[in-house]
């Protein structure tokens, strides 16, 4: 433990709202958390940061009773509590919003909020009371949520509010937010932070796990940095800098990868003409989108989530048939070709949903690295797999991309988010396909790994590959793209050269037109459709 200073309740006065002392947690051979102390002072927002796999989620899970620690104590308001399950944690006034939401999609907002703590008379639900409770809680922290909406019809940002309301309904005084911003659009992040600050003012203690240093500086009071399961720094936000935090996180300074630009563009690789697609639930219909990506070029697609980006990508990679319009690769019309043919013709794809679509979570790292290339030598010969070639290839890729894993035979589900993402990238980059389609490549990935991933994408560009990059993050687009197209309501509403694409210009273009009236990301997101 390098920079550890005096532990927790130094100030004398009131004990911390929640405190962890000497927490150690192993998973088999992996020492995930090693003797960590953490004190969360009442009414503060406390950042917990660190690389992928540093042990942040594990530590928070211990605080929420999901994991029993191998050693150490948990204290609430200075008294030791035994947390055998989340139920104990809830009873102790703790609440947690998980990295992956735990909501019931087919139930309404009100039903989700009151679940297992229902207002009821003789076992019969009091729906009116449930809805009023939701309205009252939302008003208290300045949220706007329709209690009668079905959760699976809501955008992610609103679903997250439901999770927060769930915790508040259970009278949580300490709220743990595990990477709450990973799935949010910039506007949604802003309004989340307004809510977080308001909760802190009302006396709620918030633990915020995040990868984004900017968010740490913006909203938190204290920072605890973890690396490889130990605390490497405890900082007061007002007295620290981004550089100091990053260095504590990754043990070195950070040199952001930036597109050198200026290089000559090659022939067009991807051409999309007059594309029209029907609307998916909660998204816009794609209307008349045309674009072109040339060899050695990164084209960024900017926009608030749900404005047709996903539909565009699905039309390109062959997951969904367009109503009309054409997609061409090297001038060849791809109409009627499925995903497999398109992959063979040279489209690689890194989907946004890496758990669901990008990986088969229960399969091994080696299997996942081979997926989609398992029919071709050296891995597949005449319908048979060669386990040796499979392992050899996996070992090579894991080494080359620096994937942190206990081996190539372990299931991908045991990897941290950033490392799972590297597995997907390794597979998709390996065959040097002329076109790479990537969505949100650094979502949930720590700054160090994010920087490496950016470098990998720029390598594709410099070897003459074409990259279509969908991202909701303006900084990412600015760092990587040669050109940025802004999508709004299913249409490309602006095309900007890298030089013109400043944060202000992009931000404004993303929310223009119909949405300008409402503060970005407030509840209007739910009312869209």
């Amino acid at each position: 433990m390098t920079g550890s200073t005096a532990v927790g309740s130094a100030a004398g006065g009131a004990p911390p709202a929640a405190e962890l002392r000497g927490i150690t947690k192993r998973f088999g051979p992996v020492l995930a958390v090693d003797g960590v102390d953490l004190a969360l002072e009442r009414g503060t927002v406390h950042a917990v940061v660190g690389e992928n796999g540093a042990g942040k989620s594990t530590l928070m899970s211990v605080l929420y009773g999901l994991h029993r620690p191998d050693a150490g104590q948990v204290l609430r308001d200075g008294r030791e509590v035994r947390l055998g399950s989340p139920l104990d944690a809830i009873a102790a006034g703790l609440g947690m919003v998980h990295q992956h939401f735990r909501l019931f999609g087919s139930l309404t907002v009100a039903e989700n909020v009151v679940y297992r703590a229902e207002p009821a008379r003789f076992g019969v639900l009091d729906r009116r009371a449930a809805q009023e409770r939701v309205a009252e809680l939302s008003a208290r922290i300045g949220l706007d949520v329709d209690p009668t909406a079905r959760v699976d019809t809501l955008p992610l940002g609103v679903r997250q509010r439901v999770e927060i309301l769930k915790a508040l309904h259970r009278r949580a005084e300490v709220l743990i937010l595990d990477e709450p911003t990973a799935v949010l659009t910039p506007g949604e992040v802003d309004s989340l932070f307004v809510v977080v600050r308001r909760m802190a003012e009302q006396g709620t203690t918030v633990a915020l796990v995040t990868h984004k240093v900017r968010e740490v500086l913006e909203v938190t009071d204290r920072v605890t940095v973890l690396r490889d399961g130990v605390v490497t720094a405890r900082l007061t936000t007002a007295q620290t800098t981004a550089g100091e935090i990053v260095e504590a996180m990754i043990g070195r300074g950070l040199v952001p990868a930036v597109n050198p630009r200026g290089a000559v563009r090659g022939d067009p690789v991807l051409e999309v003409d007059g594309l029209r697609m029907p609307a998916a639930p909660g998204a816009s219909r794609v209307q008349d989108v045309s674009l072109r990506v040339s060899a050695g070029e990164v084209v960024g697609i900017a926009g608030v989530s749900g404005n047709g980006q996903r539909e565009l990508v699905e039309a390109v990679v062959g997951l969904r048939r367009p109503e009309s319009g054409g997609v061409r690769l090297h001038g060849r019309d791809l109409a009627g070709l499925g995903v497999r043919e398109r992959r063979r013709l040279g489209i690689a794809y890194v989907p946004e949903d890496r758990q669901g679509m990008g990986t088969a979570a229960s399969l091994s790292v080696a299997d996942n690295l081979a997926l989609g290339h398992h029919r071709t030598p050296p891995i597949g010969r005449r319908g048979r797999l060669s386990p040796r070639a499979l392992r050899a290839q996996a070992a090579e890729l894991v080494r080359r991309l620096g994937v942190k894993t206990a081996g190539v035979a372990v299931p991908v589900s045991s990897l941290s988010g950033g490392n799972a993402q590297k597995v997907v990238l390794a597979r998709e980059l390996h065959h040097e396909a002329p076109l790479l389609v990537v969505e949100q490549p650094t979502q949930g990935v720590d700054v160090g790994a994010g920087e490496e991933i950016h470098r990998l994408l720029l390598d594709v560009r410099s070897r003459g590959g074409a990259v279509l990059l969908v991202s909701y993050e303006i900084t990412e687009l600015r760092a990587l793209a040669d050109r940025v197209l802004v999508m709004l309501d299913g249409a490309v509403t602006a095309e900007l050269d890298a030089a013109e694409a400043t944060e202000e210009v992009l931000g404004a273009a993303m929310v223009q037109a119909g949405r300008a009236g409402s503060p970005a990301g407030s509840a209007s997101g739910g009312g869209e459709r």
């Binding site: 999901l66 399950s85 989340p86 139920l87 809830i90 998980h98 735990r102 909501l103 019931f104 999609g105 087919s106 139930l107 039903e111 679940y115 297992r116 703590a117 229902e118 009821a120 076992g123 019969v124 639900l125 729906r127 079905r150 699976d152 769930k166 029907p278 998916a280 639930p281 699905e314 997951l319 969904r320 669901g356 679509m357």
Partner: protein
């Protein structure tokens, strides 16, 4: 003409009732996230126990009670095997169906000394609702049925309300939809699922009793003849919603009642016997085509996974 129509309604309800009990049980399991295809075996088990105990005790109501209890106990195989020990529910259920078929035939031969059919003179069946005689509409519709027939209809409505309006119903829906989420809120998922499977067993017991002490008064080897499977189909068709299950079962009952009619006008029995199963098949296929089309429009990946029956049990429900 009026009387004829009411008689037809009566025939539909009588045919539908046993299937409805099993399907309601299956729907509850579906809602709790347990894929229950042991309905056929449980129905058969209930039918046999009802007849056997009614014969031994001389009291058909004891037969019904015994059927409920025995089938609930039988369903523990699924509850313990598939829920507590996480064995594959399909395999456990197939075992249960085969076991019920073999065991009922065996015990009938060994203990009751009958082969094929057990229908001794004096086997007490459930009484009809004679009290309704003379009452308009209700009399002709339910007068020749047992109390278990209207009870099935009432149960469909009650279960539907129970799921939608009670705390426990809400929790059960949550358990089936997202067990990890339910666990993290302190709902004992395994206990909920096991209890649901046992309640479904009890319902199958009622269905079996209606079949062997109500619809007819006899036990025949494999007398359920696929009704449990039709119930499974009804559950999937109805995406585990009790009122839709009711509709699906009435459709099946209507097809069976029609079959009897067509026999009356001279169509071969083999053909008319197949009618309810044919109808089930056609409706099942049509509904899957519709759901898939809608899912494909919404989400191509979900449409692919909806091709699998396990996910079809509680898929993105059509809105």
């Amino acid at each position: 003409m009026d009387v004829l129509n009411l008689a037809f309604v009566a025939a539909v309800l009588t045919s539908a009732a046993p299937v409805l009990y099993a399907a309601l049980g299956g729907a509850l399991c579906g809602r709790a996230g347990v894929f229950n295809i042991a309905l056929e075996g449980q129905l058969l088990w209930g039918a046999f126990t009802a007849v056997a105990v009614s014969w031994w005790s001389g009291n058909p109501w004891l037969g019904v009670l015994a059927a409920v209890a025995a089938t609930a106990v039988f369903s523990l195989v699924l509850a313990v095997g598939a829920v507590a020990f996480r064995a594959d529910p399909i395999i456990v259920a197939v075992g249960m169906n085969l076991l019920a078929l073999g065991l009922t035939g065996f015990v009938m031969r060994e203990a009751l000394g009958a082969t094929g059919t057990f229908a001794p003179a004096g086997l007490p069946g459930l009484p009809d609702l004679d009290v309704l005689d003379g009452v308009p509409v209700l009399g002709p519709v339910l007068g020749r049925a047992t109390v278990l027939v209207p009870l099935a209809l009432v149960l469909a409505v009650v279960l539907s309300l129970w799921l939608a309006r009670t705390s426990i119903g809400l929790r059960l829906r949550g358990v089936g939809e997202h067990p990890e989420a339910a666990t993290s809120l302190g709902v004992p998922v395994t206990r909920y699922q096991m209890a649901t499977v046992v309640v479904a067993g009890a319902l199958c017991g009622l269905g079996g009793a209606q079949l062997s002490l109500g619809t007819v008064t006899a036990f025949t080897e494999n007398m359920t003849a696929g009704r449990g499977w039709v119930a499974v189909a009804a559950v999937m068709l109805a995406v585990s919603r009790p009122l839709w299950v009711l509709g699906a079962c009435l459709l099946f009952g209507a097809a069976e009642a029609w079959g009897f009619r067509l026999q009356g006008i001279g169509l071969p029995q083999q053909l008319t016997d197949a009618a309810p199963y044919l109808v089930t098949l056609v409706v099942l296929v049509l509904s899957r085509i519709r759901v898939r089309r809608r899912l494909r429009a919404a989400d191509p990946v979900a449409a692919e996974s909806a091709a699998h029956p396990e996910t079809a049990l509680h898929p993105e429900e059509p809105r």
